[in-house]
């Protein structure tokens, strides 16, 4: 429509607060190209808050996938009926989005292998951002799925030495939270170091915090408070709700053979202090210790979801923590019990192939003003279901395997929930280090690029600064490596 002479001009407040704030995050940030004043207005914290007030609490689905991005599959999901209006079309992050990992090879002459890294969810989404770890490296990547921005975090302090033959054990747990006082996201890292205790794990614990897009230096800052006498569970994603980050943890016992009691540890993002949260009643007793627990964020509150069987029963309890601090109270939101549930629920709990190994189920989000819960499978999810606690009805909302053909089977690693968010991740740190460092470091970086690729794994073991330089090159300047014929 061409502008007519009498087309009115809208005032800036309406444009910013009502129109631009309703745009999806990528379009809203794209409007920074309009003029200098809009570039400043749309980068401000006030606009981020306004955008979040409109888009927060509207969950969207993210697929973490093992194959390169498939446009055809995306087109199939666009078909009518495949994109439910409540959650929209799921977007995908694939292993192809991240650089490959150069494995160290001490034995000449075979060249070092480059293997794909697999993104794995470390935290539940927090105001549109989430944290991934690139398995098998220990590189953590902060990403904003709604804008596509991603950023590798700097390396934290060294953790304890891995036990021999224990290639996968992790001694650091990360959490992502939002500090409303400074209006910034913070990543908190709890790491275990030092000599092993009686149980074979490093005995000392430390804690550090990284402020995302902060004014201060791009590095970790040590925090005095730390979780005492407990061992944070490193493989379960942490969750953020009500200004606190929550992890599952084991309480340490003197005797290493005692079954460790499971608790929930909280970290206040603004105060930067740790506390223990009492577990829900009949939540985590000894009998259930072998089962899979998970934490999630549902409608702004922490959700504790112990799955598993007791004897022949199989049920899921959805516990919600209302409030925070000393006034926090656990509330059993609903219970999905195999014995009393409908046949559709039983079919869902058994999985697509109806075998007798039950599928581990996790909750994703609460939608429809608290009336429905979104559920999916934990490992290699296949579909998303919506469950109504008051009627006990369940139905499939989205079939994620519908795009598969016999030739292309996209392996879904995980499903996550995110929100539209204009949160900015700040500048890439490694590039700045190289650009602003001394001439000798810049010269070294040029020399390292000329060396053959098979030696990169060995070069990364020389010292920490060389490892940073090589990793920065790999992460940002891979075309440069390839052009020089290495």
């Amino acid at each position: 429509m061409a502008p007519t002479p009498r087309c009115p001009v809208l005032p800036d407040e309406i444009m910013e607060d009502e129109i631009f704030a309703r745009l999806p995050a990528k379009s809203a940030l794209g409007c920074r190209c309009l003029s200098r004043a809009w570039a400043a207005a749309l980068s401000s914290d006030d606009f981020a808050d306004r955008h979040h007030s409109i888009h927060g609490g509207r969950p969207k689905i993210l697929r973490l996938q093992d194959y390169p991005y498939d446009h055809d599959q995306e087109a199939k999901l666009h078909d009518a009926g495949r994109a439910p209006p409540t959650i929209g079309i799921p977007i995908a992050i694939t292993t192809g989005c991240f650089p490959r990992f150069i494995t160290a090879s001490w034995d000449p002459p075979p060249p070092a292998e480059s293997c794909p890294t697999h993104p794995c969810l470390v935290t539940v989404q927090c105001r549109g951002l989430l944290l991934l770890e690139l398995i098998p490296t220990e590189i953590h990547v902060l990403c904003n799925p709604s804008t596509g921005q991603k950023k590798a975090l700097p390396e934290g302090r060294t953790t304890g030495r891995r036990r021999p033959g224990d290639a996968v054990h992790r001694y650091a747990s990360l959490g992502l939270g939002y500090d409303a006082r400074v209006r910034r996201h913070k990543v908190v890292r709890v790491y275990y170091y030092g000599e092993p205790d009686g149980g074979g794990r490093p005995a000392s614990v430390g804690c550090e915090v990284y402020v995302v897009n902060g004014a201060a230096a791009e590095s970790w800052r040590t925090v005095r408070s730390r979780p005492v006498d407990c061992w944070l569970e490193p493989y379960t994603p942490s969750a953020f709700a009500q200004g606190h980050v929550y992890w599952l943890a084991h309480r340490k016992h003197e005797s290493p053979r005692t079954l460790e009691e499971m608790i929930i540890v909280s970290f206040s993002v603004s105060e930067e202090t740790f506390a223990i949260v009492p577990s829900p009643p009949s939540g985590m007793d000894g009998e259930a210790l072998n089962k899979r627990f998970c934490l999630a964020e549902l409608a702004g509150n922490l959700c504790f979801f112990p799955g598993g069987s007791r004897g022949h029963e199989h049920r899921y309890d959805v516990w919600i923590l209302r409030g925070y601090g000393s006034s926090a109270v656990w509330d059993l939101h609903c219970r999905i019990d195999e014995c009393t549930a409908s046949p559709e629920v039983n079919w869902f709990m058994r999985g697509r192939y109806n075998n007798f190994n039950r599928v581990e189920v996790i909750p994703l989000a609460i939608i429809g003003n608290g009336r429905h819960i979104l559920l999916t499978q934990d490992d290699c999810p296949e579909d998303i279901w919506v469950y109504n606690p008051s009627t006990g009805d369940i139905e499939m909302l989205l079939d994620l395997k519908s795009g598969d053909t016999d030739n292309v089977k996209n392996v879904l690693l995980q499903i996550a929930v995110y929100e539209e968010s204009v949160a900015c991740l700040g500048r890439q740190p490694c590039r700045n280090i190289i650009l602003t460092s001394s001439p000798s470091t810049q010269a070294l970086s040029l020399v390292l690029r000329l060396l053959p690729k098979r030696t990169l794994g060995m070069l990364m073991r020389v010292c920490r600064s060389w490892r940073t330089l090589v990793a920065a090159d790999i992460y940002h300047a891979r075309p440069a490596l390839e052009l020089r014929g290495v």
């Binding site: 309406i14 409007c31 003029s35 809009w38 989005c97």
Partner: protein, 119 residues
Amino acid sequence: MTAPTMTSRSPTSTQRSSPRSLSTARSTSSTSTAAAAPAEDLKSFDAEFVKVDRATLFDLILAANYLNIKGLLDLTCQTVADMIKDNTPEEIRKIFNIKNDFTPEEEAEVRKENQWAFE
């Protein structure tokens, strides 16, 4: 940011759009006091209501803002947001009469910052 023109409290735009917006306000509030109208009927009424040319849409926004009718403001602004969601910056500047004061280098820099993608 925009070329100086009439303010949001312009009586002219309100006079033009007031009859339409006032009748909407009356019809939606009367249906809420009576037996609740089906949600689909209200949704299709809303969708039909905003099928107007851009000038009228903008007048409705200004009127809703001046008369403080939240539901109408939400509906009209969401319509405009959906309209411009996939537009280029140049098209958006034309719609809202925004003057581009970037140098070409600055504009390229800002565009580059938005080039993230997962593909």
